[in-house]
Symmetry: C2
Subunit: 215 residues, 2 copies
DNA sequence: ACCTGAACACCGTTCAAGT
DNA sequence: ACCTGAACACCGTTCAAGT
């Protein structure tokens, strides 16, 4: 729609696009104002006119990425299955945008990552029979669990392989009684499986019986 | 024990102590090699001789702080109560060292925060009757849940109060059906209560019946 | 309204030179 | 063995000056 020849002036849109590209390639710490200017072929100071400063540039990128995340559609027959499916979808979406997670953490905006699944979760939790504050707690518990899990996962991934001393721990009493446990803990973690296990347990605990309103 | 007059030479110990003090006061991002040198009254380059570089300095601080965390003693009568108590102790310990959390995340060493509670959790989960890979999964699920929760909490705390647009979400269908839910979600989160709720649900789901070995 | 270069106040790190 | 200053290659941001 917009002829390429008319780009006489730099544009907020162009700045955001170039910034997005930089972040996509090398993560948010590679997004420096000077590299960005070089990429755009302008003076560093021009960028400041369009986006204020680095902080608000990152904010804009976060907002944009969150808006692009796409909807979440629950699957499954029971409410429990459907909430679990929402959790897994949210995790998958966040993992598909690893730079979002990094940016959000650098900027302290974790809340933003809660949004995509929120309405759906409210609906499903309501369908499961939870009401009022109890329902709100359940929604938040699932959200924090998913986002927290993704943060830990991402962190583990960029850590060097080193986990020295872990094995020594399993030479203790308990491990001798249960060598299978010792071996299982020595093996590397399968994050996908661990997530499924924990989220199933959490949701079952949140929605299951024995959790009726405190009478 | 060590006379103060004999400090002719700078010391790795002194560097670590000064670095710890700096981090304690203003967080890890305030720990710059130059400020550290100024604090110690030496040239910046001397520090490099003792600790290599900033990265390994942070690693050393992390290691030291983790070692100082102190033991965790479960309380309660049922295995479920005891695992929950371990989770809450671990969370409290991590929250008492907010800079550890920040440093660990900056350095990608989240694993380190798993250690303090690990043996205790293994023991309690074993006492609850879980064995082998199933027990290992339970231990890890609790660890990730706690650490993830603390990461999200810390993030929320350093974020500005802004959560714009949240309220609009609750004007939807579901909220109209359940005004108490809408109000609950509009209220600020009580992290302590939310943690307790979620960890109880998780542990109950992990240890509860209906989770017997897949027959 | 938008762009520019110069300048300020910072960084981490290396290295040759000192004792 | 330990310390030093100078230097390199970076940062984000401000500001006066241009068109």
């Amino acid at each position: 729609m917009k002829s390429e020849e008319t780009r006489t002036h730099l544009n907020r849109e162009q700045v955001l696009a170039a910034a997005t590209a930089l972040v996509k390639q090398h993560g948010p710490q590679a997004l420096t104002m000077r590299k960005l200017a070089a990429e755009l072929g302008t003076a560093v100071t021009s960028i400041y006119w369009h986006v204020g400063n680095r902080e608000s540039l990152l904010d804009a990128l976060v907002e944009r990425t969150v808006a692009d995340l796409g909807e979440i559609h629950p699957t499954g027959h029971t409410p429990e299955q459907r909430v679990v499916s929402v959790a897994r979808s949210l995790r998958r979406q966040l993992r598909e945008h690893p730079h979002l997670v990094a940016m959000v953490h650098e900027r302290g905006l974790t809340e933003r990552m809660f949004l995509p699944a929120q309405q759906v979760l409210v609906h499903e939790v309501h369908a499961a029979g939870l009401r009022g504050a109890r329902a709100a707690d359940a929604v938040r518990a699932v959200q924090v669990h998913v986002v927290g899990h993704v943060l830990v996962e991402r962190n583990r991934e960029r850590a060097p392989v080193q986990r020295p001393g872990e094995e020594e721990l399993w030479s203790g009493r308990t491990a001798e009684q249960d060598p299978a446990l010792a071996r299982a803990l020595a093996r590397p973690v399968d994050p996908e499986a661990l997530f499924t296990t924990s989220v199933r347990a959490l949701v079952s605990g949140l929605l299951g019986r024995g959790n009726g309103p405190g009478t």
